[in-house]
């Protein structure tokens, strides 16, 4: 009953006219980012953080969360209409989604995707509501050693699942941790790796790093010309028939289960969820023979899984303070920027904010459903803007987004430098995801490590004598050693485009 009361309190916050407006704007901008080529959800959310700087923390996070799940749906539109995924998690949707477009059923595909996204997102948010209290209470009972072990486990999962080479994934993770070391040491207050520059005393701007690594490097790597030729479906062609709905229902149910379950696991990306949901349709779908030639299940399953994953991934963030994916890591960065620390203490210290944000996820899913289907024509018209024009405008927003965090041109230079670094890492096939995660977790991880060792007066066995901590570290070690043990890794993970 407590949970229900908390949720109702959160709903009153989320349904205030001001927060409704921010959720609406967030959904709109998120969908736009998902639609635009060359700017994925990670850079997109980071890019829009400056827009929320003057908002109160609840409204700011509501808007950023709406941007986050809005991107999930935006990617679907280009997958279905252009055979080009706007973001990696929608890549599998191109197969049947584009086939449906060629059959004149693009509107049905988009509506089913919106319905599936709504169901998947809503059910996953309900899961977050149910898990928040017990997991949050558990989190409050753990000390710095357990917290450190938990972060080690999260990072080891991401490293193990990212990219083809664990060595390269580890290099990426260590680089992120080292970047996070720049600035004033959080415990002793000593400046580190600042090269004597006052500008680096506060550390390297997180937003500048993310925009450079993910946004700018993508633009640098892609030199496209021309215009996309998208045709918007008429409004009448948007409505699915009864047969479409009947066929989609089991796929949506399967996609919800797969997406939510995998969203809970740090390191699992939305791409894996949507690929596995498609695999489930090939295995269990009643019309599996039609997959690949415009079967509605091929859109419903992956798109549902994708959104359920996005909302499910918020569970470890809200309850334990562990970001499960790069985009969630950016969201966590925004929390920290607003003076909020995600995790068990969030419910203890800022319960109204936490429940307001959770309730807004329900509201946001409704907004996405209402917003996106009628706006399909608008999104397709944006896709007709020539790519070089879009690039120039996106670059301008990157400069504005980076500058306004600290009102410093120095950050723009940082963004450019990290764009170059991101391009180099891409060319070297070094995954970027571990770097982002460790960049956010670095200071927290160092603090808990040092607090643990201070508590134990320098005795390293503190990590082995506490049962929860020991188990978490053993699991992390087993995951890190899995390649040496020649454990089998599903091909779907090896081929993950987001890794």
């Amino acid at each position: 009953m407590d949970v229900l009361a908390d949720l109702l309190g959160g709903l009153s916050t989320a349904l205030s006219p001001q927060n409704l407006l921010y959720a609406f704007i967030g959904c709109l901008l998120g969908t736009l980012i998902g639609v635009l080529p060359g700017i994925g959800p990670v850079a997109g959310v980071a890019l829009l953080i400056p827009l929320t700087l003057n908002l109160d923390p609840t409204s700011a996070i509501i808007m950023l969360a709406a941007i986050f799940y809005g991107t999930q749906y935006g990617g679907t539109i280009t997958s279905v209409l252009l055979n080009t995924p706007g973001e990696a998690a929608s890549a599998i949707t191109t197969i049947d989604g584009y086939a449906m477009t060629r059959q004149g059923r693009a509107g049905v595909a988009l509506t089913i995707a919106a319905l599936g996204s709504f169901v998947g997102g809503t059910v996953a948010t309900a899961g977050l509501v149910l898990a928040a209290k017990p997991l949050g209470d558990l989190g409050l009972r753990i000390g710095p050693p357990e917290f450190f072990a938990l972060m080690v486990l999260g990072i080891s999962l991401l490293v193990a699942l990212a990219g083809r080479s664990m060595t390269k994934a580890l290099i990426s993770g260590v680089l992120g941790l080292l970047i996070s070391m720049v600035g004033i040491d959080p415990v002793a207050g000593a400046p580190r790796f600042t090269f004597g520059s006052e500008r680096l005393l506060d550390g390297i701007s997180f937003v500048a790093v993310i925009i450079g690594l993910f946004g700018l490097s993508e633009i640098l790597a892609t030199a496209k010309g021309g215009t996309a030729h998208a045709v918007a479906p008429g409004l009448r062609a948007l409505l699915p028939g009864r047969a479409d709905l009947r066929r989609s229902a089991p796929a949506i149910a399967r996609g919800t289960g797969i997406g939510f379950a995998l969203g809970l696991v740090p390191g699992m990306t939305g791409s894996v969820s949507s690929l596995l949901a498609y695999g489930a349709e090939r295995k269990f779908g009643r019309h599996r023979d039609e997959l690949g030639s415009g079967a509605v299940e091929g859109v419903a399953g992956p798109e549902t899984a994708n959104n359920a994953h996005a909302n499910g991934a918020l569970v470890p963030l809200f309850t334990l303070g562990i970001p499960a994916s790069p985009t969630i890591a950016v969201l966590m960065g925004a929390f920290l920027q607003q003076g909020l620390t995600p995790g068990p203490t969030l419910f203890a210290e800022h319960a109204d904010v936490a429940w307001g944000i959770i309730a807004s996820l329900f509201v946001g899913n409704v907004i996405l459903l209402v917003l996106n289907v009628p706006l399909v024509r608008v999104w397709t018209s944006i896709l007709r803007i020539p790519y070089p024009v879009l690039t120039a405008l996106i670059l301008t927003f990157m400069v504005v987004g980076t500058y306004t965090i600290n009102f410093s041109v120095f950050d723009v230079f940082v963004m450019v430098a990290f764009g170059l670094l991101g391009l180099t890492l891409r060319r070297l096939d070094i995954p970027l995801a571990p770097l982002v995660l460790t960049l956010v977790l670095g200071p927290l991880m160092e603090r808990s490590l040092r607090e643990s060792l201070e508590l134990s007066q320098g005795d390293l066995t503190v990590f082995l004598t506490r049962p929860i901590c020991a188990v978490l570290l053993v699991v992390a070690l087993a995951i890190a050693a899995s390649p040496l043990l020649r454990l089998r890794k599903p091909a779907v993970l090896a081929a993950d485009p987001e890794a």
């Binding site: 664990m166 580190r192 695999g279 670059l395 764009g419 390649p483 091909a491 090896a494």
Partner: protein, 182 residues
């Protein structure tokens, strides 16, 4: 891409793909930079004190990370050398295909110039010139479209942020231009 979630053998680390000469040079250079970075961080960390009477000092965590980075860079180098010897390493995709250097240089160069002059010329003039360069000279759009979009991206965003979001983008550092509201 296989759409079936088939299982594949996950070897200790896949053999390092054979890269074209320029890719191999980039890789070797990157490995050298990582080793140099690890040495620099380790030396700096030693100067920050590894241990204090209260426990680990400011240099402890970076020192551990520096050692880890150095070892990983060496491991990567060894894997590359082995892959070079083992000619069977062909199945994996090589490092990402080459970049359009002219495109990358134009984007990076224009951003560096923009950042360098933004405090002096102000947001509006510098971004207006930046957008004109990309829209008119690089993308070859019409004068009308280029001017309209450049004005929207410079003056439009400047006043939109100032009045809509209460966020002030930099005005010109030259009093004469600043007096004109630029």
């Amino acid at each position: 891409m296989s759409h079936e979630p088939a299982l594949a053998q996950h070897a200790p680390d896949p053999p390092e793909p054979l890269a074209p000469p320029s890719g191999a040079r980039l890789r070797t250079g990157a490995q050298a930079v990582l080793v140099a970075l690890s040495v620099y961080v380790a030396v700096e960390s030693l100067g920050l004190r590894l241990w204090t009477s209260f426990g680990p000092g400011p240099g402890f965590f970076p020192f551990v990370l520096a050692i880890a980075l150095g070892l990983l860079a060496i491991a990567w180098f060894v894997q590359s050398v082995r892959a070079g010897r083992d000619k069977t390493a062909g199945g994996e995709a090589a490092e990402s295909e080459g970049t359009d250097v002219r495109h990358a240089a134009a984007v990076l160069g224009s951003l560096v110039v923009l950042a360098a002059v933004m405090d002096l010329l102000g947001y509006q003039i510098s971004v207006f010139l930046f957008l004109m360069y990309h829209l008119k000279w690089r993308a070859g759009r019409s004068w009308v479209l280029s001017l309209a979009l450049s004005l929207a991206g410079s003056a439009g965003i400047f006043y939109g942020f100032a009045h809509g979001l209460m966020v002030q983008l930099p005005p010109s550092g030259i009093p004469f231009l600043a007096g004109w509201g630029l």
